[in-house]
Symmetry: C2
Subunit: 219 residues, 2 copies
């Protein structure tokens, strides 16, 4: 394990989405290693878990500072927290959900979110019949209250789980309410101001990818 | 638009997952252009839609054969079908779903799948109270019938929407039943034989990515 060279200033902000994706995987595997009682992990163990070379692991993790020691490895717990700090998930993020259908109900029960420091702060739906009902312990509120509630809860992130035709209107309302990032499950391309971050979860694309991989594997 | 050079044999199989992801986006935007009545599209239009350079568009699409014409562009409909053939989605894929909770119900209603040629062939659940019930017009079947039904429907793909602790067992059962690809929504790392393709949809990772982007944007 070679000593990492100091990185030029501003390097952090230039991390690509691809590297960001890999850091999530590091985090997931490191958490598993820690659960299994490993206090240190080697770049080879991490490389094997992620399916990349140990050289790439060392290069990636050099970004986080001088954590690894030659012949010993990385201290598991410290590396997890270095990654969480880097991601900005060493604190709790409050999330609002717009559109309380089956998908939202599945997400509300999804243990992974809470484990990673995401807290559902409030639920909203345009359907007045749903307003006042509860889902997973949270009251479903009218869209008109979005701005007020985003401000009072300090929510930064919004989950859009409405049908495609409603998604842009909902995204605009979330932006107006002051949300800084949107996780969009609707299969449309949202138009957002540059200062609002967007991650799309297009489930049809994921299934297409799979079909494509199977198609290629069968050649 | 320069004439593409002939590609060496085997090039197709070496397409990375990243390129595969981009091809899905091409398809999505081309379908929208076709709906809007555009019979030809330029590499600049596609580049703008995808947020990449027109040079990259031309390079990507050269893989599909001699479709583009200088000063005219690509014929929209032909390009869509060239992409669908390349993906192996110029035909219907039958899909089985294991684990009929809220997430599965949301996916069954998800219009995007049907539009892209994916057909839900059968549903399975380990919970005997659910067996015999219906969801979106399909009967929920006992796990014991998985092998028989996969064979009789010719299903190639399996969706795993069970809790993390059940996912590996379910994946093993799908592999034994003859499924060739798995779309996994459970937040664990599945171990599969090399000949079975896997795409993971880790929803916590998607939300982490978003937090990370917001965190960086706020610096």
């Amino acid at each position: 394990m070679t000593k990492p060279r100091p990185e030029p200033a501003g390097r952090e902000a230039r991390l690509s989405r691809a590297s960001a994706g890999r850091f999530s995987l590091y985090l997931r595997h490191l958490e598993r290693f820690e659960q299994e009682g490993l206090t240190t992990v080697s770049s080879s163990q991490l490389g094997e878990a992620l399916g990349i070379t140990h050289a790439q692991v060392r290069k990636d993790l050099a970004n986080l500072g001088h954590l690894g020691q030659p012949g010993i490895g990385y201290p598991t717990h410290e590396l997890i927290w270095a990654l969480r700090r880097r991601f900005g998930i060493d604190r709790e993020w409050a999330v609002v959900v717009v559109g309380v259908g089956n998908l939202a109900r599945a997400l509300l029960r999804y243990r992974g979110f809470r484990d990673q420091g995401f807290r559902f702060a409030a639920l909203f739906d345009a359907d007045t019949r749903k307003v006042g009902q509860r889902a997973e312990g949270l009251e479903i509120m009218a869209m008109e209250r979005l701005g007020e509630i985003v401000r009072s809860t300090g929510a930064n992130l919004g989950l859009v789980t409405v049908p495609a035709e409603a998604a842009q209107t909902v995204a605009d309302a979330l932006v107006a309410a002051g949300v800084r990032g949107i996780l969009n499950f609707a299969p449309i391309v949202l138009r957002l101001p540059a200062e609002v971050s967007l991650v799309n979860v297009d489930l049809a694309i994921q299934l297409e990818q799979l079909a494509f991989l199977v198609h290629l594997a069968g050649k």
